[in-house]
Amino acid sequence: MDALLFLTFAGIAVLCAINLILQTHPISSALSLVGVMGALAVLYLLLGGAFIAAVQLIVYAGAVMVLFLFVIMLLNAQAERTTSKPAIRAWVSVPLLFTFVILLASLIIQRAPAGAAVRFGEFTGGSVANVGRALFTTYLLPFEITSILILIAILGAIVLARKEI
């Protein structure tokens, strides 16, 4: 059952990710990305991260991606026009990427802890209480600094969005 769920949602994630780079229209790409995020949220649930799954949906899918859609619609972005250029680039990039992913996967398989397996329900340390406790004790300083980061981001966005620039 675990494996089936994993394969289903991993498949959805990979398909959506491929769709993300194949679609020419940014809206389609954005919605594919939402699909990836949703699938990943389910995988997080399988990994015992209930809170992080919910946050993935609320923050990523519900806020960040809406922002993307927003901007795409605001700018009325159109589908990319095809050009003659990509042919050469693809000849270089595709093998490069294949090397990259194969190297990465082989390294992972070579070094992954032997026998480490994921069974649903074996780890329940990702509940809201646990995350909250870690966030407000061990990681209090980073957490507070994060708030400053967000403040700066808001200010930056406001400054950039002014008419004069």
């Binding site: 990836v36 995988l43 990427l97 996967a105 994921v118 994060t146």
Partner: protein
């Protein structure tokens, strides 16, 4: 569930599957970065890479039975949100000034 499938699949998912999935998603993100020309799509590819990395964090959190990985992916999300805010604002500004979203047309620092 048919017995054949149950026997075909392992009872538990090896950790490396998650990690390889993460690697694949990351590579797809890189591919999106390299192949797409729309700035927004490129930006979304970056988000995809961040998501892939988050998956590793959560997977290792499971493996180590510690919550820290979740915290890290939480921070990644926060940073991604901040990045999206500023990045999209920059894209808006770029579009306002150059009337294009083609990344290759934004190759010089000045207008």
């Amino acid at each position: 569930m048919p017995a054949e499938i149950t026997q075909l699949l392992p009872a538990a998912v090896p950790l490396s599957w998650y990690l390889v999935l993460s690697a694949i998603l990351f590579t797809l993100g890189v591919a999106g970065f390299l192949f797409r020309r729309n700035i927004i799509t490129v930006f979304m590819s970056i988000e995809l890479m961040l998501n892939a990395v988050n998956l590793t964090f959560v997977a290792f959190s499971y493996h180590l039975k510690q919550v820290d990985g979740h915290i890290f992916s939480f921070f990644v999300m926060v940073v991604a949100a901040a990045e999206a805010t500023v990045g999209l604002a920059i894209i808006l500004t770029v579009f306002k000034n150059r009337a294009t979203l083609e990344i290759d047309e934004v190759s010089s620092m000045k207008l």
